[in-house]
Amino acid sequence: MNAKGIVSGLLGSLLLCGCKIDQPELGGPLANLTPDQRAQFQEGKRIFQRVFEPKDGLGPLFNSVSCAECHEDPVVGGVGDEVEIHASRFTEPDSCDLLLQEGGPVIQQDATPLLRALGILKEQVPANATQARRSTPAIFGFGLVDSIPEATVLSYEDPNDANGDGISGRASRTIDGRVGRFGRKAAVATLFDFNAGALPFEQGITTPLSPVEETINGKPVPPETDPAPDPEVSLEDLQKLDAFVRFLAAPPRSSPDTYEEKALVKRGEELFASLKCSVCHIPKLKTGPNPIKALDRQTVELYSDLLVHDMGPELADICVGDTRPAEFRTELLMGLRFREQFLHDGSAKSVKDAIERHGGEGSRSRDKFKGLSDADKKALLKFLQTL
């Protein structure tokens, strides 16, 4: 046997045994991290899983006692069945009030015993505000998403639909003018900003960057309900937490088992492109130059353009920053097969339902999907089950 034959044989053996070359496991760290970065990942994972109690700074208002309480399925960093309440107040034509004087856009649904003793069980949606439901996404591969250059995101903008395809995505801008990409409304610019805000908003944990407690609908928390000194976590712990999320590997794709399934998935992938789903759910983007080797010029199969699109009045809920009620960031489809609820609010119970509820800029693709034969619908859904 010559050298070529030996290599082919080895590759064939790997494929037959189902092994993947250099494929990180679900919930594991990115490949090519240094030992120091892997240690940061592990330390950060401990903070991600840490269950906070009131004496540690939990609350007094909160949604969850740990990050991993929500991001848990099928492994730490995955999806959760929790659905949060967010709110804001929109005034035509484009003014968005994030309720900053009324407790902010995240309406915490739980309270510590000390606050409950005062009769406050949760935060209320302020009067005249619109409320929205938000499902818990998986956060696998978010470090890679964070590393996609801003210029790449902007290159896909077509705010006036110059090419006439009915799709006019635009980049969301944060309050400080940066391009947003995280959150269902893309109102957060970086992964670090997202992680830094998760502790105070979701767990009521103050940090050096947010050293005062969230208010209760604008009223300061009664001091006797908040025994832990501020900040309740250190900057170092926040950075470790960020390292865990940043270094979480993207979920591996599932491989079809049989020749028939492979053909079905291939057909589904072709349909995904021909129905123009892939215009917004762009299959792959590339990260930019990055001092961290594992994030440097890597291909990310995120299935999103990270832009916001008008999804029609049926799905419209709240504004956030400069993103209007009907606009949503193209949902990332990586890890789709692990979800049990779909759309931004978790109201769709199947992928098919979610596709059929696309409106606005997604209407043309939705209508084409509805017009497919049952066999082609099956193929498209089978393809999506591999993500």
Binding site: L100, G177, V188, D193, A196, G197, F201, L209
Partner: protein
């Protein structure tokens, strides 16, 4: 004559104090560039001094290792975008070469009319 001298000295002292205060505020503005305060939708990254429309030092505390300012800010990302009023806590640590900004905490944020 004597009261006139005292008055002139007082005016000079006040002028020097105000000048020093303005210089300290300008140094703060410069040091803030590259820092981020808050998180999620409330995160503000200081990208240029042009975005800091006003900075007023409200309080300054210092010990051997740490210097903490409480400042009031008016922030605007760009022309024709909303202006925000913020209060922030700016913390410096002493290094071998002097004071170095360590982090900025967002105390409050509101959109101005």
């Amino acid at each position: 004559m004597k009261s006139k001298s005292i008055f002139i000295a007082a005016v000079l002292a006040l002028g020097l104090a105000l000048g020093a205060h303005a210089a300290e505020a300008d140094q703060l503005k410069s040091d803030l560039i590259g820092q981020t305060m808050g998180g999620r939708e409330n995160a503000w990254k200081f990208q240029s001094t042009d975005q800091i429309k006003a900075l007023t030092i409200q309080k300054k505390d210092e010990d051997l290792k740490k210097r903490v300012y409480k400042v009031a800010l008016e922030l605007q990302a760009a022309k024709d975008t909303p202006r925000y009023a913020a209060e922030a806590q700016v913390e410096y640590t002493r290094t071998g070469t002097g004071w170095k900004i360590h982090h900025v905490g967002l105390l409050s944020l509101r959109r101005m009319k």
